[in-house]
């Protein structure tokens, strides 16, 4: 069996909702059934085979051969299997994903991993704003699973994130971990203004000195035993966080304007 492959016939004019194209949604469907699936595109509904050339038959292994930033909701509510995207993905990549792996070999739009509760989202590129954040109207962002971004993330990464781990190997924009409820975010590069703004709980790991606001309080340098556990759990991950071995960090607690039980750990290089 070969991977079920979707190849865009042309760059669409309107955004396309790709939520129906996940392993669990396609399980048990024939090639004809898959081709006949209706996808929302702007104010139209189009057959999948009108938008994509479709080949392969393994629905547990889905490939988007030439992704573009208009393909929204790829891997939404996905429960198992694997989706690989060559090229960019649009908004809401892995939206409310419960399990399985998504590998993006390009850049992701805004709200990637929003509401995600399990599995892996590996972005080999940059992520837009509101990575792992809650969409407007939701009270919680990402609530489980693992996100790895090899490039940079936009503003408000981890906004209202509830659980899980987000590892950003490049830079993060302004207000990283804003209103964070719990979970762990790591940023190897620089962060923009006011990381941890309104943070309630959770841990933000930083490797470059951040520009902090007044309601994050310096608690001093510490050797923290849990960092060994964390480093051990990262050891088999793809990417740079696998090499994390520091257990000593400066601890900033906050945001005191919002309960103050979160922490920003700044490692010295």
């Amino acid at each position: 069996m070969s991977a079920l492959t979707f190849t865009l016939k042309k760059i669409p004019q309107q955004r396309i909702d790709c939520a129906p194209l996940t392993p669990n949604m396609l399980a048990g469907k024939s090639a004809a059934d898959i081709g006949a699936i209706l996808l929302q595109s702007g104010n139209e509904t189009l057959r999948a085979d009108a938008l994509f050339d479709i080949s392969g038959d393994n629905v547990a292994e889905i490939v988007f051969a030439n992704g573009c930033d208009k393909l929204d909701y790829i891997g939404a509510a996905m429960q198992s299997g694997r989706i690989t995207i060559h090229g960019d993905a649009g908004w809401y990549l892995g939206f409310r994903k419960k399990g399985g792996d998504i590998v993006l070999r390009g850049n992701a739009g805004d709200f990637a991993a929003s509401g995600m509760t399990g599995g892996l989202l590996h972005i080999h590129g940059n992520a837009g704003d509101f990575l792992a954040a809650a969409i407007p109207g939701d009270r919680k962002g990402m609530a489980g699973g693992l996100v790895i971004v090899t490039g940079n993330a936009g503003d408000r990464a981890g906004d209202q994130m509830r659980r899980g781990i987000v590892l950003i190997e490049g830079d993060a924009g302004d207000y990283c971990a804003s209103r964070m409820i719990a979970g762990t975010i790591g940023v190897l590069g620089a962060t923009g203004a006011y990381p941890g703004y309104g943070m309630k709980r959770g841990t933000l790991l930083l490797f470059k000195p951040p520009k902090l606001h007044a309601t994050l309080q310096d608690c001093g340098m510490h050797t923290l035993p849990f960092l060994k556990l964390m480093a051990k759990s990262f050891r088999d991950l793809p990417g740079k966080f696998a090499h994390l071995d520091q257990t000593r960090a400066r601890r900033y607690a906050g945001d005191l304007a919002n309960d103050g039980k979160g922490e920003i750990l700044v490692f010295s290089n």
Partner: protein
């Protein structure tokens, strides 16, 4: 059966179903891991009065522990799950939480999940935080030496307690030396502990007493100074008896430990004053597990 001049009695040890758990205790160095574990397993020789029977199973290298520090594995056994859970929590709170640099982790994957540090977190008075890695939840409790780190749960399994054998020797020093040799050999067997002081009991008990308030009293049949007063089980040359009690995570583990212990005793042999090996039982009516000495040593 006679091994190296040591008579193996045609009898059996009678053991009981228990509940058991394992906790991995780590610290800055092995010295402090041992201190925490010794404290946690103190006053835990017999369920008769201690609630649990507990002991150090073995030392752990940094590669074997979750946080990469040296540690020890502690096994704890009780007659029921409720008392085991209560004792575990109490001993964790008073002996591990309080011990400098110590941390505690689950030592049994699977089984029934019971609280290890779940309720200890409240010592943090609201400053405690939890982290989840690899599907496991850990608690970080701020304490004066830094942070107390503990896993939230550990596993509880069905286990076996009360496996035993008796070493009968010509003198007290010889009985003790044989007991020490047995314990040294048995400590190499995984999944078992010998909960009494140094692994050896000098005051084996029988069920009941002439005093109504006591549920157990001295095993007069094996007391050498009562040879002329009671229905003794001792021949004239026996001057001292030591007992080794074994708790294990399975009957196979207890069997292996019994074999290792008796083999070490017999290696000393009659030349070192060891004359007999026997075992304690209650006629086979109370315990589910019977460990026949000759069958084990065959």
């Amino acid at each position: 059966m006679n091994i190296n001049g040591v008579l193996i009695d045609d009898t059996f040890a009678e053991a009981f179903g228990m509940r058991g758990t394992r906790v991995l205790i780590t610290a800055q160095n092995l010295k402090w891991a041992h201190i925490a574990a010794a404290s946690m397993t103190g006053f835990a020789t017999s369920v008769i009065a201690c609630g649990v029977e507990a002991g150090i199973e073995r030392e752990l290298s940094p590669e074997e522990t979750p946080d990469g520090r040296p540690g020890v594995a502690v096994l704890m056994f009780a007659m029921g799950s409720a008392v085991l859970m209560k004792q575990l929590e109490t001993r964790m709170g008073q002996c591990v939480l309080t011990c400098p640099t110590a941390a505690a982790f689950s030592g049994i994957e699977g089984g029934d999940r019971i609280n290890l540090g779940k309720n200890l977190r409240f010592f943090g008075d609201g400053f405690q935080t939890s982290k989840q890695f690899g599907g496991k939840r850990y608690w970080r409790v701020p304490v004066m030496d830094g942070e107390f780190l503990t896993e939230e749960k550990t596993g509880m399994v069905r286990a076996v307690g009360g496996g035993n054998f008796l070493i009968l020797a010509e003198s007290q020093p010889q009985a003790l030396a044989a007991g020490e040799a047995a314990i040294a050999a048995m400590k190499k067997v995984p999944n078992v502990i010998m909960p009494f002081p140094g692994g050896i009991v000098r005051s084996g008990s029988k069920v009941g007493s002439k005093y109504k308030t006591l549920i157990a009293s001295t095993n007069d049949a094996f007391c050498p100074t009562l040879k002329g007063l009671t229905k003794t089980a001792l021949s004239p040359e026996i001057e001292s008896v030591m007992e080794i009690v074994i708790d294990g995570l399975s009957d196979a583990d207890v069997r292996k430990a019994t074999h290792a212990g008796i083999s070490a005793v017999c290696e000393l042999g009659a030349a070192n004053g060891v004359r007999r090996v026997s075992a304690g039982n209650y006629g086979g009516k109370l315990g589910q597990f019977h460990f026949h000495l000759r069958e084990i040593m065959a």
